[in-house]
Structures are given as C-alpha cells and as structure tokens.
C-alpha cells in the first residue's frame, strides 16, 4: 500500500504549465517526490515481482516517415523497438508486449494494418510477440506499448541479474553498445548533404527504418555481470551520459575519436560532418554501459560473439555532474550537447530535422576529425 507523498509546493501550487516546467523539472519536482520509494525508480524498466521487469513507452510517427519512408510499418517497428530497448538496458529477455493505439477515426484501415505489421515483425525479430492491446479514438495518432521481460538467475545463489543505471564508479569505462548514427546518417542523405550509392542507401535506410534493440548484448552483459550500470540511448548520447552521471553522482570524460560503420564514415566525409556528431545522435537504440577497465576487452569480445559492436567512448570521473569532451586538443572542454527534453521548446524538436543537421555540421568544425 502506498499513499502519495507530499510534493514540494513549487511546481504544482504556483500554477505552472508543463511546458513551463520541462521534462527535467517534471521528473525532479513531481515524479521523484511521489515515486522515489518505488524500486528501480529512474531506471529504464521497473521491477515486477522478483525476477521480471516492465516498461512502457509511446511514440508518434517515426522520424524516417519524414525522410521519404512514409510507410506506417516503420512507426510500428519503432514502437516495439523503443520498448524492447528498455528491456535490453535491464538485461532482460522479452516475455511479451501489449499495445495501446489511439487513432483518429479518419485513419485508413490500411494504416492500422501496417502499424501492426511493423510491431509484429519487430517483435518476431526479437523473439517475442504481441499478447494483447487496446484501440481507441483520438484526435491524433498516439501509440504506446508495454513490454515485460524476465531476468536471468545467475550463479549458485540464484541472484537475479538485472542491469540498472546505478552501480558505476569513477574510472569505469563507457562503452557504446550497438551501431550509432544510421538514422541521422539517413537524414543527412535525404536532405542532400551527401550522395550515396544505391547499396549504401539501402544499407543505411534499412538500419534507420528497422532499428534493433540490443537484447542479445543486454543479456550477455547481465548474465556475465559485466555492466556495472546501463542505460539505453533513447534521447541521444549526451542525455544518456548525463543520466548515468546523475544516477551515480559522477562526471564523464568523452572522447570524440569514435569510428562509425564504414558507410557512415563515408557519409560523414562527404557531408563535412565529424563522425562524433553522428555517433552522439539517437534513433539507433544503442546501450551505454559502464564497465571496469579490466573488463573492457573481455566485454567487447563477448559482445562480438553475439554480433554486437561496442565502442569505448570515454570514462566516468569523480567530478560530479561535469561532462567533458576530449577532442585531442590541449584541454578537454565542457560538452554543450544537444538536449532532448520533452515539454520544452529548447529541445531538437524546436529546430526540426534540418535545423539539427545544420547544427551537426556547424559543430563539426570545432571538433575536426584530425
């Protein structure tokens, strides 16, 4: 039994709107005081019973629908991936999804059918399925889903192996697990910043349209006890690193010399974009994990065995709250990253895709690829 706890008077009693608060203050001033006693508050997934996790996420139309890929199948795929990615960040195996669709009455039946095709195909590609759902009417499309996962029991004591945001210490190395940059690489191509061959186009848009959750990697990291903390990169690398630092009272030093998949390296060169600018975007559903320095090689090896790349991109530091970028110059500088705050006009949503691409190219000058 839980009774709602008292909230600080600030946000609620002063008559502020959600747009005046922004996501971070909503979380800090409204959700945390109310729900901080819930186990795993702040993690990608909530604990459910002793060995399960549960998560819910919603989405509107997928970004690729604004990049010439207008088939709603991609939005359905995305809906499943964003939820399964939270399970990956907990190191859990998916047990099933339930879906909740709000659609305008004037939606063509075919649109709903294609959304379901995408959800079902994505679920099947990740070894799971839709168990149930609800469909209702609304003025705009809004799709949400809930995923439940089962955590592995490890060792002779049967401890539940659940990954969490908390547990990292200063000196831990940051690994970016998965292959970042395909979605925003596709955006660079669509907006004419780089020409690509037919094969290159197919490879990038294939990844951009059908991003995979890092479930095999999450499973390995959890069962092997290798990730001291983990989070999925749902809002970009900057937001993920900041969240990981906040959860552990740490800072971070991030290197910009990250290498991307070959096709993306070529796109970056043609578009005049520093690969780090692509690596720090969102939409590819990578995991960000912290591992002990001695475990980096073994971790990368085990992840390679399940077909997953892991790039070492920096380390956690004791300088609480400071996130620095090391671009090979004399001194690391504070990272003024792109923020993705909901309920805020300062996020990327305020500038649009084209604005975000312009900013990416603009920043590439200050971090030359060397």
């Amino acid at each position: 039994m839980t009774a709602p706890t008292a909230e600080p008077p600030s946000a609620v009693s002063t008559g502020l709107l959600l747009s005046e608060l922004g996501e971070r203050r909503i979380v800090a001033e409204m959700l945390e005081p109310r729900y901080r006693t819930v186990p795993s508050f702040g993690d990608d997934c909530a604990q459910l019973g002793s060995d399960r996790v549960i998560t819910t996420d919603s989405c509107g139309a997928a970004l690729v629908c604004s990049l010439g890929e207008t088939d709603p199948v991609h939005t359905g795929w995305l809906l499943a991936t964003i939820n399964l990615s939270d399970l990956a960040a907990a190191g859990a195996r998916p047990e099933g999804l339930v879906v909740n669709y709000t659609l305008p009455p004037e939606t063509p039946a075919r649109t709903l059918s294609r959304i379901m095709d995408g959800v079902d195909a994505c679920a099947a590609a990740h070894g799971t399925r839709v168990l149930g759902g609800d469909i209702g009417e609304g003025r705009e499309m809004r799709l949400s889903a809930t995923a439940v996962g089962v955590c592995a029991h490890g060792g002779p004591d049967g401890t539940v192996r659940r990954l969490s945001r908390r547990g990292a210490v200063a000196g831990d190395r940051l690994l970016l697990v998965g292959s970042p940059g395909h979605l925003w690489g596709a955006a660079l191509v669509f907006h004419g910043f780089a020409e690509v061959t037919e094969d290159e186009h197919r490879e990038m848009f294939d990844r951009a349209c059908r991003p995979r959750a890092q479930l095999p990697a999450g499973g390995v990291l959890a069962t092997q006890g290798l990730a001291r903390s983990a989070i999925d990169v749902s809002d970009g690398l900057y937001a993920a690193i900041r969240s990981l630092c906040r959860a552990n009272g740490l800072g971070a030093l991030v290197r910009t010399d990250v290498r991307l998949d070959p096709v993306l390296e070529r796109v970056c060169e043609r578009a005049g974009v520093h690969p780090f600018q692509l690596a720090q975007t969102w939409g590819d559903w990578c995991l960000l994990v912290a591992v002990h320095p001695d475990d980096v090689v073994r971790t990368r090896g085990l992840l390679a065995e399940v077909g997953t790349q892991a790039r070492e991109i920096g380390e956690l530091t004791a300088a609480t709250g400071r996130v620095l970028l090391d671009d090979g110059g004399a001194e690391p500088a504070a990272w003024d990253g792109i923020d993705q705050e909901r309920f805020s006009s300062t996020s990327w949503r305020g500038v649009g895709i084209r604005g975000a691409l312009d900013r990416m190219r603009e920043l590439s000058g200050s971090h030359p690829s060397g």
Copy 2:
C-alpha cells in the same frame, strides 16, 4: 515467433477508414485473423507466462467530469480502475501498474498532479501501486495504463485459476457482480431528473467518482472455481452479454426485474426510470459471470463474505446469438440494447449524456417496473 497472418482483403485493401469499419469489424476483420493464435485472445486480459495476466486500457476525461465533478483526480482513479477491473475479470491479484500519459504542453502541472493522486489512491485502495511510466506531449490528453496480475494456483495439482470469457454452457445463470447504476444515477441527478438529499447525493457521487474494481470477488470466483466464464462490464450490460454469448456460441435470456441499491431505487422512482435501465449502464465496473445453476446460492454467499453483491439477472441459452429480455410480459422480446462501439457514430457517444438519459427514460415506459 509469430509471423503476421494474412488478412481478408475486405477492410484493408478496399481503402476503408476506421470510422467506416467500426470497432466490431476492426476486431473481426483485422485483429482476429492476426492474433487469434495468441492464448486468451478476446479475453479482458492476456496470459503472461504461466500464471500471470496483463491488460492495457486507456481513457480520456472521466464522465463524472461532465457531471460537475471536474477534479482530474477522478480521471486518474478511473484509469486505474478500468485496468484493475480487467484483472478482476481474470480472477487475478494485482502485481502493479505502469502508466503512460500523453498531455498537451499547456496542461497545468496541478492537473497532472491530481491525475497521479487519483491513480495512486485507486491503486492503494486495491492493494497495489504504480511501478513506472512514461509522459509525453500530444495535442489532447490521453491516459493509458497497463496492469499485471498474478493468478492463484488451486488444488493439489497446482492448476492456475484464471477466469476467461469461454467455458459457459446453456443453462448457466448470469450473475451481475457489484453494484450497478451509480454513475448514470449521478447523471440523472446532475441533469435534474431526480432530486436527492445531501446524503443521497454524497453516496451516489462517491460511488460514481471512485468506482472499485471487483478484485476480491474475482479472486473468490477464481480460487473456488465457481465462475465458468467472466467478463467485466466496461461497455454496458448489453455489450457484455453479447460478448459472453459470442465467446461461448450461446444466447441469453435476461430478466428486467433487477433491484438496485436503495438510493438508486429512489432515484429511479423520482426520475421515472425503470431500474433495469440503470442496471444495464456502464461505469460501475461490475463483473458479469456465468455459474452453474446449483452454484448460485453458494456463489452469492461467498461473494457476500467479501462484501460484494451479486444479482441473478438471467441465464444463458442454446439459441446462439439471441439475446432476449423477459420483462414479465407474455413473451420475451429481442433486446435492442445500447451499443458502445468505438470508431462508430452509432454509439452513445453520438447522442451525448443527455441523449442517453432521454433514451433511458423513453425505454422505461416499455418495461414498466410492475
């Protein structure tokens, strides 16, 4: 692994809109072909693993917000109840809720706070809590939640005791579990059809604002193996009976001589509304269950022990698809009930609250209380 199965060409290939299809054809032509192999397809809850169930439901503002009770706390309470009611229909004990809120940016923080107060209070009143959630922006408020429940293991063989829509046979008696009529009784009062004392007003609006899911009753029915099939009355008695008949290939004979709680009997008399017209409404989250004729007395007794009323309202018949009303006249007549189909202009939503009340009074003439 599930691959989407082929759909009949009708709805999707002919370019129909969801509003042209309506909820029933969406289910029959789009969802059933795709998901009929999912265990418990069509039930209030989906099976999750061996002994759990999961359900998701969404809502906009609660109807009571149009009856002078404008505090968003009632919408939060409703959101939790509608999901917990599905667990009740499965006979499961709640393990937790996750919530997914879409809100316009111009929503006052206080509104979100009151919604959460309602969800948290309702969850606590039912012995459970919110485990996690997601908040995003949209043009209109849309709240959804997912509830997970655990089913009891019964008997020496440890069989999972899960209630389902299927399992009833002709001759089974229909019990309406819970106390129907409070929400629409409150609507009659609010619209001036009946005057009530202050105490009567408080009693009715208390129930209308804070409807309870029938979790204790569902638990008893499941563990004692008494309900051969069960469904919650989320869309009115007519829709619930039709669904139960369809799931079991049966018909039903429903008696109109149902008695309501005393305060509602008085409201009916003053408003010139037949009690059956209130009993067949929705919003009170009753369960409709089918029990063997020999089990009716024992079932009512056991439910009374957990403080729950159960009214015998008729029986299931072998006349597949025929739902008849017996109002004490010479011959039972076909029940032309109020339908609550989503994505359809013919549902109550098309006529509004006042229109639905007028219809209720108009029909009361043809079914005199005798």
